[in-house]
Protein backbone atom coordinates (compact mmCIF):
# COMPACT_ATOMS: atom_id res chain seq x y z
CA UNK A 1 0.00 0.00 0.00
CA UNK A 2 1.37 3.37 -0.98
CA UNK A 3 -0.81 5.66 1.08
CA UNK A 4 1.18 8.30 2.91
CA UNK A 5 -0.21 10.39 5.74
CA UNK A 6 1.41 13.18 7.74
CA UNK A 7 -0.42 14.20 10.89
CA UNK A 8 0.56 17.50 12.52
CA UNK A 9 4.18 17.00 11.55
CA UNK A 10 6.66 19.70 12.53
CA UNK A 11 10.42 19.94 12.37
CA UNK A 12 12.40 22.46 14.37
CA UNK A 13 16.12 23.15 14.14
CA UNK A 14 16.77 25.20 17.27
CA UNK A 15 14.70 28.33 16.88
CA UNK A 16 14.10 27.72 13.19
CA UNK A 17 10.92 25.94 12.18
CA UNK A 18 11.47 24.12 8.89
CA UNK A 19 8.07 22.42 8.78
CA UNK A 20 5.14 23.70 10.76
CA UNK A 21 2.12 21.52 11.56
CA UNK A 22 1.99 19.75 8.21
CA UNK A 23 -1.07 17.62 7.47
CA UNK A 24 -0.93 15.71 4.23
CA UNK A 25 -2.85 12.74 2.93
CA UNK A 26 -1.59 11.05 -0.24
CA UNK A 27 -3.56 8.26 -1.86
CA UNK A 28 -2.06 5.04 -3.19
CA UNK A 29 -0.86 5.49 -6.79
CA UNK A 30 -1.01 9.26 -6.70
CA UNK A 31 1.68 11.50 -8.22
CA UNK A 32 2.10 14.38 -5.79
CA UNK A 33 4.44 17.31 -6.23
CA UNK A 34 5.67 19.22 -3.22
CA UNK A 35 6.39 22.63 -4.64
CA UNK A 36 7.58 25.89 -3.14
CA UNK A 37 10.47 28.32 -3.10
CA UNK A 38 13.92 27.36 -1.81
CA UNK A 39 13.96 26.86 1.96
CA UNK A 40 10.19 26.43 2.27
CA UNK A 41 10.47 23.00 3.90
CA UNK A 42 9.54 20.71 1.01
CA UNK A 43 12.75 18.66 1.13
CA UNK A 44 12.52 18.38 4.93
CA UNK A 45 8.97 17.10 4.53
CA UNK A 46 10.17 14.48 2.06
CA UNK A 47 13.09 13.51 4.30
CA UNK A 48 10.67 12.93 7.15
CA UNK A 49 8.66 10.60 4.91
CA UNK A 50 11.89 8.85 3.85
CA UNK A 51 13.18 8.49 7.40
CA UNK A 52 16.29 10.61 6.83
CA UNK A 53 14.97 13.14 9.34
CA UNK A 54 12.94 12.41 12.45
CA UNK A 55 10.06 14.87 13.02
CA UNK A 56 10.11 17.03 16.14
CA UNK A 57 6.35 16.57 16.46
CA UNK A 58 3.62 14.63 14.71
CA UNK A 59 3.32 11.24 13.08
CA UNK A 60 4.09 9.77 9.67
CA UNK A 61 2.09 6.85 8.28
CA UNK A 62 2.96 4.78 5.21
CA UNK A 63 0.26 2.31 4.28
CA UNK A 64 -1.37 1.30 7.53
CA UNK A 65 1.86 1.49 9.56
CA UNK A 66 3.10 4.32 11.74
CA UNK A 67 6.71 4.80 10.63
CA UNK A 68 7.67 8.04 12.39
CA UNK A 69 10.74 6.58 14.10
CA UNK A 70 11.52 3.67 11.77
CA UNK A 71 14.81 3.66 9.81
CA UNK A 72 14.51 4.22 6.04
CA UNK A 73 15.07 0.55 5.17
CA UNK A 74 11.96 -0.51 7.07
CA UNK A 75 9.60 1.98 5.44
CA UNK A 76 9.15 0.38 2.04
CA UNK A 77 10.18 3.52 0.19
CA UNK A 78 12.86 4.22 -2.41
CA UNK A 79 14.34 7.59 -3.14
CA UNK A 80 15.95 9.26 -6.12
CA UNK A 81 18.25 12.10 -5.18
CA UNK A 82 19.11 15.34 -6.93
CA UNK A 83 22.83 14.49 -7.06
CA UNK A 84 22.06 11.06 -8.63
CA UNK A 85 24.70 9.48 -6.31
CA UNK A 86 25.78 6.49 -8.39
CA UNK A 87 28.80 4.53 -7.22
CA UNK A 88 31.50 5.54 -9.72
CA UNK A 89 33.45 2.27 -9.35
CA UNK A 90 30.42 0.07 -10.11
CA UNK A 91 28.91 -0.57 -13.52
CA UNK A 92 25.24 0.06 -14.23
CA UNK A 93 24.21 -3.50 -13.30
CA UNK A 94 25.97 -3.29 -9.92
CA UNK A 95 24.60 0.17 -9.25
CA UNK A 96 21.03 -0.93 -9.97
CA UNK A 97 21.36 -4.12 -7.95
CA UNK A 98 23.07 -2.45 -4.97
CA UNK A 99 19.93 -2.30 -2.80
CA UNK A 100 18.98 -5.91 -3.59
CA UNK A 101 22.48 -7.21 -2.82
CA UNK A 102 22.37 -5.28 0.45
CA UNK A 103 19.17 -7.17 1.30
CA UNK A 104 20.67 -10.54 0.31
CA UNK A 105 18.36 -11.34 -2.61
CA UNK A 106 19.42 -14.42 -4.60
CA UNK A 107 21.28 -13.91 -7.87
CA UNK A 108 18.50 -15.04 -10.21
CA UNK A 109 15.99 -12.72 -8.56
CA UNK A 110 18.47 -9.82 -8.74
CA UNK A 111 19.10 -10.46 -12.43
CA UNK A 112 15.40 -10.72 -13.19
CA UNK A 113 14.58 -7.47 -11.40
CA UNK A 114 17.55 -5.52 -12.81
CA UNK A 115 16.66 -6.55 -16.37
CA UNK A 116 13.06 -5.54 -15.86
CA UNK A 117 14.02 -2.17 -14.34
CA UNK A 118 16.52 -1.55 -17.15
CA UNK A 119 13.76 -2.34 -19.60
CA UNK A 120 11.36 0.11 -17.93
CA UNK A 121 13.87 2.98 -18.04
CA UNK A 122 15.17 1.95 -21.47
CA UNK A 123 18.69 1.09 -20.40
CA UNK A 124 18.89 -2.33 -22.07
CA UNK A 125 22.35 -2.98 -23.46
CA UNK A 126 23.99 -0.49 -21.12
CA UNK A 127 24.25 -2.64 -18.02
CA UNK A 128 28.00 -3.14 -18.38
CA UNK A 129 28.76 0.54 -18.76
CA UNK A 130 30.42 2.63 -16.05
CA UNK A 131 28.64 5.82 -14.85
CA UNK A 132 31.31 8.10 -16.33
CA UNK A 133 30.55 6.67 -19.77
CA UNK A 134 26.94 7.84 -19.60
CA UNK A 135 25.13 11.13 -20.13
CA UNK A 136 23.33 12.98 -17.34
CA UNK A 137 19.94 11.70 -18.44
CA UNK A 138 21.15 8.11 -18.65
CA UNK A 139 22.69 8.35 -15.18
CA UNK A 140 19.45 9.71 -13.82
CA UNK A 141 17.65 6.76 -15.40
CA UNK A 142 20.09 4.41 -13.65
CA UNK A 143 19.21 6.09 -10.35
CA UNK A 144 15.50 5.63 -11.13
CA UNK A 145 16.09 1.99 -12.08
CA UNK A 146 17.90 1.50 -8.78
CA UNK A 147 14.76 2.71 -7.04
CA UNK A 148 12.43 0.60 -9.23
CA UNK A 149 14.16 -2.76 -8.59
CA UNK A 150 13.19 -2.69 -4.96
CA UNK A 151 9.51 -2.61 -5.86
CA UNK A 152 8.75 0.04 -3.22
CA UNK A 153 5.31 1.15 -2.16
CA UNK A 154 6.32 4.78 -2.47
CA UNK A 155 8.83 6.55 -4.71
CA UNK A 156 10.38 9.69 -3.32
CA UNK A 157 12.09 12.02 -5.77
CA UNK A 158 13.98 15.04 -4.51
CA UNK A 159 14.47 17.39 -7.46
CA UNK A 160 15.83 14.55 -9.63
CA UNK A 161 15.90 16.66 -12.78
CA UNK A 162 17.43 19.82 -11.30
CA UNK A 163 20.95 19.04 -12.55
CA UNK A 164 19.87 18.28 -16.11
CA UNK A 165 19.78 20.77 -18.96
CA UNK A 166 16.44 22.25 -20.04
CA UNK A 167 15.88 19.96 -23.03
CA UNK A 168 16.72 16.79 -21.15
CA UNK A 169 14.57 17.92 -18.24
CA UNK A 170 11.53 18.20 -20.50
CA UNK A 171 12.30 14.76 -21.96
CA UNK A 172 12.74 13.20 -18.50
CA UNK A 173 9.44 14.72 -17.36
CA UNK A 174 7.68 12.67 -20.01
CA UNK A 175 9.69 9.62 -19.03
CA UNK A 176 8.64 9.98 -15.41
CA UNK A 177 4.99 10.34 -16.37
CA UNK A 178 5.27 7.21 -18.50
CA UNK A 179 6.96 5.44 -15.60
CA UNK A 180 4.20 6.42 -13.22
CA UNK A 181 1.60 5.16 -15.65
CA UNK A 182 3.47 1.88 -16.02
CA UNK A 183 4.23 1.22 -12.35
CA UNK A 184 1.09 2.81 -10.87
CA UNK A 185 2.99 3.51 -7.65
CA UNK A 186 2.74 6.49 -5.35
CA UNK A 187 5.30 9.12 -6.34
CA UNK A 188 6.14 12.06 -4.13
CA UNK A 189 8.17 14.53 -6.10
CA UNK A 190 9.90 17.60 -4.72
CA UNK A 191 10.59 20.52 -7.03
CA UNK A 192 10.83 24.28 -6.95
CA UNK A 193 9.97 24.36 -10.65
CA UNK A 194 6.24 24.97 -10.86
CA UNK A 195 6.21 23.98 -14.55
CA UNK A 196 7.39 20.48 -13.56
CA UNK A 197 4.74 20.33 -10.89
CA UNK A 198 2.00 21.49 -13.24
CA UNK A 199 2.84 19.04 -16.02
CA UNK A 200 3.47 15.85 -14.07
CA UNK A 201 1.38 15.68 -10.94
CA UNK A 202 -2.11 14.55 -10.05
CA UNK A 203 -2.08 17.04 -7.19
CA UNK A 204 0.25 19.83 -6.16
CA UNK A 205 1.07 20.59 -2.54
CA UNK A 206 2.21 24.21 -2.41
CA UNK A 207 4.38 24.90 0.62
CA UNK A 208 5.64 28.21 1.95
CA UNK A 209 7.54 28.92 5.17
CA UNK A 210 7.05 25.34 6.29
CA UNK A 211 3.27 25.50 6.00
CA UNK A 212 1.04 23.79 3.49
CA UNK A 213 -0.73 26.51 1.51
CA UNK A 214 -2.86 24.42 -0.83
CA UNK A 215 -3.09 20.85 -2.06
CA UNK A 216 -5.17 20.45 -5.18
CA UNK A 217 -4.93 19.34 -8.81
CA UNK A 218 -2.66 21.62 -10.88
CA UNK A 219 -5.46 23.42 -12.69
CA UNK A 220 -7.35 24.09 -9.46
CA UNK A 221 -4.17 25.63 -7.99
CA UNK A 222 -3.85 27.69 -11.17
CA UNK A 223 -7.47 28.77 -11.54
CA UNK A 224 -8.55 28.91 -7.92
CA UNK A 225 -5.49 29.68 -5.81
CA UNK A 226 -6.21 29.53 -2.09
CA UNK A 227 -4.21 32.62 -1.31
CA UNK A 228 -1.89 35.31 -2.66
CA UNK A 229 1.19 33.11 -2.30
CA UNK A 230 -0.23 30.28 -4.40
CA UNK A 231 -1.57 32.75 -6.96
CA UNK A 232 1.86 34.33 -7.30
CA UNK A 233 3.84 31.11 -7.25
CA UNK A 234 1.83 29.01 -9.66
CA UNK A 235 1.91 30.26 -13.23
CA UNK A 236 4.71 31.70 -15.30
CA UNK A 237 4.88 34.61 -15.71
CA UNK A 238 3.34 35.40 -12.38
CA UNK A 239 -0.14 36.83 -11.83
CA UNK A 240 -0.54 40.63 -11.82
CA UNK A 241 -1.54 42.02 -8.43
CA UNK A 242 -3.05 45.41 -7.70
CA UNK A 243 -3.96 46.74 -4.26
CA UNK A 244 -7.28 48.47 -3.81
CA UNK A 245 -10.45 48.71 -1.80
CA UNK A 246 -13.95 47.32 -2.02
CA UNK A 247 -16.51 50.05 -2.56
CA UNK A 248 -20.25 49.91 -3.24
CA UNK A 249 -19.38 49.50 -6.90
CA UNK A 250 -16.73 46.83 -6.64
CA UNK A 251 -12.95 46.99 -6.69
CA UNK A 252 -11.34 50.39 -6.84
CA UNK A 253 -7.65 51.12 -7.10
CA UNK A 254 -5.60 54.06 -8.30
CA UNK A 255 -5.51 52.90 -11.90
CA UNK A 256 -8.02 50.08 -12.35
CA UNK A 257 -11.61 49.65 -11.23
CA UNK A 258 -13.63 46.47 -11.63
CA UNK A 259 -17.34 46.53 -10.99
CA UNK A 260 -19.07 43.84 -8.98
CA UNK A 261 -21.63 43.47 -6.26
CA UNK A 262 -19.72 43.19 -2.94
CA UNK A 263 -22.68 41.43 -1.31
CA UNK A 264 -22.60 38.65 -3.87
CA UNK A 265 -19.07 37.60 -3.05
CA UNK A 266 -19.53 38.31 0.64
CA UNK A 267 -16.98 41.09 0.99
CA UNK A 268 -17.69 44.08 3.17
CA UNK A 269 -17.41 47.54 1.68
CA UNK A 270 -14.19 49.19 2.83
CA UNK A 271 -12.18 45.96 2.93
CA UNK A 272 -8.65 46.26 1.60
CA UNK A 273 -8.31 43.75 -1.20
CA UNK A 274 -5.71 42.74 -3.77
CA UNK A 275 -6.92 42.05 -7.26
CA UNK A 276 -5.13 39.39 -9.26
CA UNK A 277 -5.29 38.86 -13.00
CA UNK A 278 -3.11 36.55 -15.07
CA UNK A 279 -1.23 38.02 -18.07
CA UNK A 280 -3.25 35.92 -20.54
CA UNK A 281 -6.48 37.40 -19.17
CA UNK A 282 -5.50 40.95 -20.11
CA UNK A 283 -6.59 41.78 -23.67
CA UNK A 284 -6.02 44.61 -26.09
CA UNK A 285 -9.27 46.42 -26.91
CA UNK A 286 -9.00 45.10 -30.50
CA UNK A 287 -9.52 41.59 -29.11
CA UNK A 288 -12.60 42.53 -27.07
CA UNK A 289 -14.78 40.09 -28.98
CA UNK A 290 -12.77 37.23 -27.43
CA UNK A 291 -13.86 38.31 -23.95
CA UNK A 292 -17.34 37.36 -22.86
CA UNK A 293 -17.38 39.53 -19.77
CA UNK A 294 -14.95 42.43 -20.26
CA UNK A 295 -14.04 45.04 -17.67
CA UNK A 296 -13.96 48.76 -18.31
CA UNK A 297 -11.29 50.01 -20.66
CA UNK A 298 -7.90 50.78 -19.17
CA UNK A 299 -5.49 53.21 -20.78
CA UNK A 300 -1.86 52.25 -20.62
CA UNK A 301 1.45 52.60 -22.38
CA UNK A 302 3.55 49.66 -23.50
CA UNK A 303 6.92 49.52 -21.82
CA UNK A 304 9.08 46.46 -22.51
CA UNK A 305 8.20 43.67 -24.96
CA UNK A 306 9.44 40.13 -24.45
CA UNK A 307 8.86 38.01 -27.57
CA UNK A 308 8.83 34.34 -26.55
CA UNK A 309 8.06 32.85 -29.97
CA UNK A 310 4.60 31.48 -29.23
CA UNK A 311 3.53 34.65 -27.40
CA UNK A 312 4.74 38.14 -26.51
CA UNK A 313 4.86 39.43 -22.97
CA UNK A 314 4.00 43.11 -22.91
CA UNK A 315 4.76 45.17 -19.81
CA UNK A 316 2.21 47.95 -19.53
CA UNK A 317 2.72 51.18 -17.62
CA UNK A 318 -0.44 52.49 -16.03
CA UNK A 319 1.21 55.76 -15.06
CA UNK A 320 4.08 57.87 -16.35
CA UNK A 321 6.25 57.03 -13.37
CA UNK A 322 5.56 53.31 -13.44
CA UNK A 323 8.62 51.46 -12.29
CA UNK A 324 9.37 48.02 -10.91
CA UNK A 325 10.87 49.62 -7.79
CA UNK A 326 7.34 50.40 -6.69
CA UNK A 327 6.83 46.72 -6.04
CA UNK A 328 5.82 46.29 -2.42
CA UNK A 329 6.77 43.52 -0.01
CA UNK A 330 4.02 41.20 -1.23
CA UNK A 331 5.06 41.46 -4.87
CA UNK A 332 2.28 43.86 -5.74
CA UNK A 333 3.15 46.41 -8.42
CA UNK A 334 0.33 48.86 -8.41
CA UNK A 335 1.01 50.70 -11.62
CA UNK A 336 2.25 48.00 -13.95
CA UNK A 337 0.46 45.22 -15.73
CA UNK A 338 1.87 42.29 -17.64
CA UNK A 339 -0.07 41.18 -20.68
CA UNK A 340 0.41 38.15 -22.90
CA UNK A 341 -0.53 38.55 -26.56
CA UNK A 342 -0.21 36.34 -29.62
CA UNK A 343 3.05 36.71 -31.61
CA UNK A 344 1.33 38.24 -34.65
CA UNK A 345 -0.07 41.15 -32.62
CA UNK A 346 0.97 44.53 -33.94
CA UNK A 347 2.36 46.14 -30.82
CA UNK A 348 5.40 48.38 -30.30
CA UNK A 349 7.27 49.69 -27.30
CA UNK A 350 6.16 53.09 -25.88
CA UNK A 351 2.81 52.91 -27.62
CA UNK A 352 -0.49 54.08 -26.11
CA UNK A 353 -2.86 51.14 -25.86
CA UNK A 354 -6.23 50.41 -24.35
CA UNK A 355 -6.69 47.11 -22.60
CA UNK A 356 -9.52 45.23 -20.93
CA UNK A 357 -9.60 42.47 -18.34
CA UNK A 358 -11.62 39.28 -18.50
CA UNK A 359 -13.82 39.77 -15.46
CA UNK A 360 -14.52 36.07 -15.17
CA UNK A 361 -10.78 35.56 -14.56
CA UNK A 362 -10.33 38.28 -11.95
CA UNK A 363 -9.25 37.03 -8.50
CA UNK A 364 -9.77 38.93 -5.28
CA UNK A 365 -7.69 38.36 -2.16
CA UNK A 366 -7.90 39.82 1.31
CA UNK A 367 -4.83 42.08 1.44
CA UNK A 368 -4.32 41.53 5.15
CA UNK A 369 -4.61 37.74 5.35
CA UNK A 370 -3.85 36.94 1.72
CA UNK A 371 -6.81 34.55 1.57
CA UNK A 372 -8.77 34.24 -1.65
CA UNK A 373 -12.16 35.94 -1.56
CA UNK A 374 -13.37 35.32 -5.09
CA UNK A 375 -12.29 33.72 -8.35
CA UNK A 376 -14.04 35.36 -11.29
CA UNK A 377 -16.57 38.13 -11.18
CA UNK A 378 -19.83 37.52 -12.94
CA UNK A 379 -22.16 40.08 -11.44
CA UNK A 380 -22.32 43.73 -12.39
CA UNK A 381 -23.56 46.66 -10.37
CA UNK A 382 -26.03 48.58 -12.47
CA UNK A 383 -26.24 51.54 -10.12
CA UNK A 384 -25.69 54.92 -11.66
CA UNK A 385 -22.55 56.80 -10.83
CA UNK A 386 -20.41 53.73 -10.70
CA UNK A 387 -16.77 54.50 -11.44
CA UNK A 388 -15.89 53.42 -14.90
CA UNK A 389 -14.22 54.42 -18.06
CA UNK A 390 -13.92 58.09 -17.21
CA UNK A 391 -12.14 57.45 -13.92
CA UNK A 392 -9.75 55.06 -15.58
CA UNK A 393 -9.08 57.09 -18.66
CA UNK A 394 -7.92 59.94 -16.41
CA UNK A 395 -4.83 57.90 -15.58
Amino acid sequence: MGDVKLEHVSKHYGDVTAVDDMNLEIQDGEFICLVGPSGCGKSTTMEMIAGLTIPSEGEVFIGDREVTNLPPKDRGVAMVFQNIALFPHMNVYDNISFGLRLRNYDKEEIQRRVERAADVVQLEGMLERMPDEMSGGQRQRVAIARAIVRNPGVFLMDEPLANLDAKLRVHMRTELQRLHKELDTTIIYVTHDQAEAMTMSDRIAVIDSGRLQQIDPPLVCYNEPANLFVAGFIGSPSMNFLDGEVTDYGFESTYINVEFDPAEIGVEVGTDVTMGIRPEDVYLIEDERQVANPSHQIDAMTDVLEPMGDEIFVYLKLSEEAHADLEDATGVINDQLLMSVSPDTDVEEDEDVTVILDRTRVHLFDTETGKALSHGIESMVQASGAPGTEAESDD
Binding site: G51, L52, P72, G99, R150
Partner: protein, 97 residues
Protein backbone atom coordinates in the same frame (compact mmCIF):
# COMPACT_ATOMS: atom_id res chain seq x y z
CA UNK B 1 121.19 54.70 43.18
CA UNK B 2 122.41 55.30 46.68
CA UNK B 3 120.25 55.50 49.78
CA UNK B 4 120.05 59.28 49.89
CA UNK B 5 119.06 59.53 46.32
CA UNK B 6 116.52 56.73 46.71
CA UNK B 7 114.98 58.53 49.68
CA UNK B 8 114.87 61.78 47.70
CA UNK B 9 113.32 60.05 44.74
CA UNK B 10 110.79 58.41 46.99
CA UNK B 11 110.03 61.74 48.58
CA UNK B 12 109.52 63.30 45.19
CA UNK B 13 107.29 60.45 44.11
CA UNK B 14 105.26 60.77 47.27
CA UNK B 15 104.97 64.49 46.73
CA UNK B 16 103.88 63.87 43.15
CA UNK B 17 101.45 61.25 44.23
CA UNK B 18 100.13 63.51 46.91
CA UNK B 19 99.56 66.22 44.38
CA UNK B 20 97.98 63.68 41.98
CA UNK B 21 95.82 61.79 44.44
CA UNK B 22 92.83 64.02 44.63
CA UNK B 23 92.58 64.03 40.84
CA UNK B 24 93.23 60.29 40.48
CA UNK B 25 90.81 59.36 43.26
CA UNK B 26 88.13 61.42 41.54
CA UNK B 27 88.90 59.72 38.23
CA UNK B 28 88.58 56.26 39.76
CA UNK B 29 85.32 57.20 41.50
CA UNK B 30 83.81 58.56 38.28
CA UNK B 31 84.72 55.47 36.26
CA UNK B 32 83.16 53.08 38.78
CA UNK B 33 79.92 55.04 39.01
CA UNK B 34 79.40 55.23 35.22
CA UNK B 35 80.14 51.57 34.77
CA UNK B 36 77.86 50.78 37.63
CA UNK B 37 75.15 52.92 36.23
CA UNK B 38 75.64 51.41 32.82
CA UNK B 39 75.61 47.98 34.36
CA UNK B 40 72.57 48.82 36.43
CA UNK B 41 70.82 50.35 33.45
CA UNK B 42 71.69 47.43 31.27
CA UNK B 43 70.52 44.99 33.87
CA UNK B 44 67.33 46.97 34.34
CA UNK B 45 66.69 46.88 30.60
CA UNK B 46 67.50 43.21 30.46
CA UNK B 47 65.33 42.59 33.49
CA UNK B 48 62.51 44.58 31.96
CA UNK B 49 62.59 42.62 28.75
CA UNK B 50 63.06 39.35 30.61
CA UNK B 51 60.07 40.14 32.80
CA UNK B 52 58.18 41.50 29.81
CA UNK B 53 58.94 38.33 27.93
CA UNK B 54 57.74 36.14 30.73
CA UNK B 55 54.57 38.15 31.31
CA UNK B 56 53.95 38.38 27.58
CA UNK B 57 54.49 34.66 27.19
CA UNK B 58 52.14 33.90 30.09
CA UNK B 59 49.52 36.18 28.61
CA UNK B 60 50.05 34.67 25.15
CA UNK B 61 49.62 31.21 26.58
CA UNK B 62 46.49 32.30 28.36
CA UNK B 63 44.94 34.38 25.60
CA UNK B 64 46.34 32.91 22.42
CA UNK B 65 47.79 29.43 22.63
CA UNK B 66 45.24 27.85 24.94
CA UNK B 67 42.21 29.29 23.00
CA UNK B 68 43.82 28.26 19.70
CA UNK B 69 44.49 24.82 21.05
CA UNK B 70 40.92 24.60 22.27
CA UNK B 71 39.66 25.89 18.94
CA UNK B 72 41.73 23.29 17.13
CA UNK B 73 40.42 20.51 19.35
CA UNK B 74 36.88 21.84 19.00
CA UNK B 75 37.32 22.01 15.23
CA UNK B 76 38.63 18.46 15.13
CA UNK B 77 35.75 17.29 17.29
CA UNK B 78 33.23 19.13 15.12
CA UNK B 79 34.83 17.76 11.97
CA UNK B 80 34.67 14.28 13.43
CA UNK B 81 31.02 14.77 14.41
CA UNK B 82 30.27 16.20 10.98
CA UNK B 83 31.97 13.26 9.29
CA UNK B 84 30.06 10.90 11.54
CA UNK B 85 26.78 12.66 10.73
CA UNK B 86 27.58 12.54 7.03
CA UNK B 87 28.49 8.89 7.26
CA UNK B 88 25.23 8.12 9.10
CA UNK B 89 23.30 10.18 6.57
CA UNK B 90 25.06 8.35 3.72
CA UNK B 91 24.23 5.01 5.29
CA UNK B 92 20.59 6.05 5.72
CA UNK B 93 20.49 7.28 2.13
CA UNK B 94 21.95 3.99 0.95
CA UNK B 95 19.06 2.23 2.65
CA UNK B 96 16.82 4.07 0.19
CA UNK B 97 18.73 2.89 -2.93
Amino acid sequence: MDGAARTEHHTVELAQNRTKRPHDTHSIHTMVTELGLLYLGGMTVLFFFWAYGIVSFVLDVKNKFIPKGRQYLRGRRQLKEEQQREQERKEREEQLY
